[in-house]
Amino acid sequence: MGIFTLVINGARHDVDVAPETPLLWVLRDTLGLVGTKFGCGIGECGACIVHLDDVPAKSCRTTVASVGKRRVTTIEGLGQPTRHPLQQAWVELDVPQCGFCQPGQLMSAAALLRENPQPTDKDIEEALAGNLCRCGTYPRIVAGVHRAAEIAAATPAGKKERT
């Protein structure tokens, strides 16, 4: 065991866990941040994606010891302080079916929009290639990312975020 200091969604947490514990289980079991999902445990489904210093990472393949000083952002932190354009678009277009993959989809999409505010279909396919959806919501995910780009472009908050 060891004490690890994590900065998650802007808040500091000291956790006492084995160093090889995947960040996924620290989030879910130790800290109760269950928005990050367990789907496969081996980096194949994308349900567990979080951001480490704004870069998407599969938290099932990230040990707590390897996080270091990097800021962790989870789905719970995505919409802070105001709802992310993607979350707004997802609700507007009724993207989720079962919803289980959606936190991971949103985290991948948010990283994409940060780098590329006006992505093409192809850009979206590439950025979200590692996120599986058993329910087949892909057409609406693509539409949702485009819609979020539109919302972000039309709002001052969106403009601010891109600078």
Binding site: V34, E44, G99, C135, Y138
Partner: protein
């Protein structure tokens, strides 16, 4: 809640919905209801509703507070099919409330709600009519309450958006203000309440977002795997990799000493392959501690009698049966030998498809808490909560009335969560732990201990006359069963989804028709998988009919229509509906009017199942080296007179198309030494975002037929439509699934 004696009302001759009502002493109202459009629909039991003073609680599903807040109960399990949104919409429509003012809560397993199973696309047809009447009855009582207060005729009042308006005077009263008065009203005869006409629907038929969407995108705790309780423990459960295997011994002492482990023990289980299987449980302080300890677990198994199950071996067994008579003759019309002898030519083909897994994105899990008083509380992502309760009672002896079961949103179901094995496992572990315990399956558990869609083999031979018409049809279907011995006799009853109905199209449409079935014994547990049976049979028969059309040199659509209309009055199959649907899809897809270059083409297929009629046209591009892209899928659907939630319905169509494509393209399980080889998404791939068809076009034909569900019927015709398009594009005929079995290279 106590159960009241029922006040029997004679069923009307049409067995249509009727409701029975009674007034309770103390001002509470009850409204129980019967509905039996399907054989399996169970009556709702009368129970008094708990009610606060000033509240109007006309039935188990509607609660109107004095503040005007309207709470609607969703009784069905939600797995992503959208029923938690759709059924409350039906209530809200007839109740005349503003959807934005409605609060929707999930009901637990409770007899007051009647049948609570999300399977067979039945949630809508079982409840639609009933829920309209429940809403309309409550609306009527609110109208009557207002009329009484104002001392005016009820006919002068209208209900609109949670308010009753007295038209002549313009006076209004909100539902909240009327709640206590409405609660005193006698309940009107629900069979006579006035239902809205479709043209006045304000909610139904519109696109309404899922009621949990905001919580989903915010990452709130919603799913079974998210359940957290004070003092909760975390468990894993290891079963024999060979189905039916039992535990001989395990290194429990070593495992118990590992970090974070609280206990490890053997559960004897039963020999029911879809029930509580034997295994070893590890209970720990966290999921990761349990997962880690499991890596050190060594179990000596008695692998039982199925350790030789082997997919290659099954193929060989099936192929040896191709020309042999089947064990069961499903249908034998006319004279098959004479029919074949008289045919101008015969066409033969064999089709084969593998076992597949459900692979819900949320692995199976369940939380259970066995309390000192002997009661058990369960939190389960399930499609069939009553099955969980029943299995727990059967295997653990906990009486039904001591089991509380909370329905938790499921991260996908597709039939997998109709089974209750994981619920029984959690309960069996909980019985040994004096704290709440959450059982979480690994992805590998989920894939290697599924209740699978059985594989199958069809050996087809057809006789065509000089004009290319089918005159004789013979199919020997080789399927799978888990042998069972009863009273000294061994039975081989095909597993779920592994039995062919003798009425399956085109059986009844052909004069000389023999359909035979032989089941191979195996230890692979089988269970319903989205559109059971249909998900494979539609591919086989719709592909083969396309082969016959080409053999006859005819257009596949014209060929199918001619075959279908040979018998326009087939019982339980509305040929007229399917004919109109085919015409519609052909029109929308410009069938036969497009010229495709080599490597591109269109295919058509249709199927009727789960009360839904669906026809599809797929257009594909196949690169010379064989890479497939589905460019366009045009889907025409007839599920009756009303689409409840257009957005949800379209989502089911989009999802079914992509799911169908995912299975068609790459999903298969290999079986070696009694074990499922594949374990995770690396070797059992799901379609990804780039695999989606470029366009999915959806056309709902609203017809004057009973309203029904949409979780299943769109999936079956997708695979044959795409395979027929591949043939049109390349000349390559797909007779084995998945597509990875066949090279699509054409240059």
């Amino acid at each position: 809640m106590n159960t009241l004696p029922s006040h029997a009302v004679p069923a009307d001759p049409n067995r249509r919905a009727f409701l029975r009502t009674a007034t309770l002493a103390g001002g509470g109202l009850l409204l129980g209801c019967y509905l039996a459009p399907l054989a399996s629909a169970a009556p709702i039991v009368d129970v008094p509703q708990r009610r606060k003073p000033d509240e109007f609680v006309p039935n188990a599903f509607i609660r109107i507070a004095a503040t005007g807040v309207v709470t609607l109960v969703s009784k069905q399990p939600e797995t992503g099919q959208g029923i938690k949104t759709a059924l409350p919409m039906v209530l809200a429509e007839e109740l005349e409330v503003d959807w934005r003012d409605v609060v929707i809560v999930q009901g637990d397993l409770d007899p007051v709600y009647g049948r609570q199973i999300a399977g067979g696309s039945t949630s809508t047809p079982v409840n639609y009519e009933n829920f309209r009447r429940l809403g309309a009855t409550a609306r009527t009582m609110l109208l009557q309450a207002a009329a009484e207060i104002w001392q005016v005729a009820e006919g002068e009042c209208v209900a609109t958006l949670g308010t009753i308006v007295h038209r002549p005077s313009g006076r209004t009263l909100g539902y909240g203000a009327l709640a206590s008065k409405a609660a005193e009203r006698p309940v009107p005869d629900a069979t006579k309440v006035v239902l809205k006409t479709a043209k006045d629907f304000a909610l139904m038929g519109r696109r309404i977002g899922g009621v949990d969407n905001a919580a989903i995108v915010a990452g709130e705790a919603l799913f079974g795997i998210d359940v957290r309780l004070p003092g909760m423990r975390y468990a894993v459960y290891e079963k024999c990799p060979v189905f039916g295997g039992t535990v001989v011994s395990a290194n429990l002492d070593l495992v118990r000493a590992l970090p974070g482990v609280l206990d490890a023990f053997i559960i004897a289980g039963t020999d029911d392959l879809t029930g509580l299987m034997p295994g070893v449980a590890i209970v720990a302080e966290s999921t990761w501690a349990a997962f880690s300890a499991r890596k050190q677990l060594r179990v000596v198994w008695d692998e039982g009698k199925y350790a030789n199950d082997d997919w290659r071996g099954f193929i060989a067994q099936a192929e040896a049966l191709a020309d042999a008579p089947g064990a069961t003759r499903l249908r034998d019309d006319g004279d098959i030998a004479a029919g074949m002898a008289a045919a101008a030519r015969t066409v033969e083909a064999s089709y084969r498809y593998p076992f597949i897994a459900h692979a819900c994105l949320e692995p199976q899990n369940c939380t259970a808490w066995f309390k000192p008083d002997g009661s058990l509380e369960i939190w389960a992502p399930t499609q069939n909560p009553a099955a969980g309760q029943t299995l727990v009672t059967a295997v653990l002896g906990i009486p039904k009335e001591k089991i509380t079961l909370h329905l938790i949103r499921s991260g996908g179901g597709f039939g997998r969560r109709l089974s209750a094995d994981y619920i029984a496992e959690a309960a069996a572990i909980a019985q040994r732990v004096s704290a709440p315990v959450k059982l979480t399956w690994s992805r590998e558990d989920d894939m290697r201990h599924d209740h699978y869609r059985p594989g199958g083999f069809h050996f087809l031979r057809v006789g065509l006359d000089a004009k290319g018409r089918v005159v004789a049809w013979r199919d020997h279907f080789v399927t799978f069963a888990n042998a069972r011995t009863r009273n000294g006799k061994t039975e081989l009853r095909p597993g779920s989804g592994g039995h062919l109905s003798p009425d399956e199209f085109p059986g009844r449409w052909i004069d000389h028709c023999r359909m035979e079935e032989t089941a191979l014994d195996c230890g692979i547990p089988m269970g319903p998988w989205r559109a059971p049976g249909a998900n494979a049979f539609a591919w086989v028969f719709q592909s083969f009919i396309d082969e016959l059309a080409h053999a006859a040199g005819q257009d596949p659509l014209a060929y199918s229509l001619a075959l279908l209309n040979r018998r326009p009055n087939a019982t339980g199959y509305d040929v007229g509906r399917m004919t109109r649907l085919l015409a519609h899809v052909a029109d929308k897809a410009a069938w036969g009017k497009k010229k495709f270059p080599r490597g591109q083409g269109a295919g058509i297929a249709f199927h009727y199942c789960h009360r839904g009629y669906v026809a599809q046209v797929a257009e594909v591009s196949v690169a010379p080296h064989g890479a497939l892209k589905v460019d366009r899928v045009v889907v025409a659907v007839d599920i009756g007179a009303q689409i409840i939630n257009l957005s949800g319905a379209e989502a089911q169509v989009e999802g079914s198309v992509i799911d169908g494509l995912s299975v068609l393209a790459q999903q298969e399980l290999d079986i070696r030494q009694g074990r499922i080889v594949q374990g995770n998404f690396g070797d059992y791939p799901l379609a990804g975002i780039a695999d989606r068809p470029t366009a999915i076009e959806i056309h709902f034909l609203q017809t004057d037929n009973p309203v029904t569900g949409l979780g299943e019927p769109v999936l079956p015709p997708l695979a044959p439509a795409v395979c027929n398009a591949i043939f049109a594009a390349t000349g390559v005929r797909i007779r084995q699934l998945p597509l990875t079995q066949t090279s699509l290279r054409w240059a």
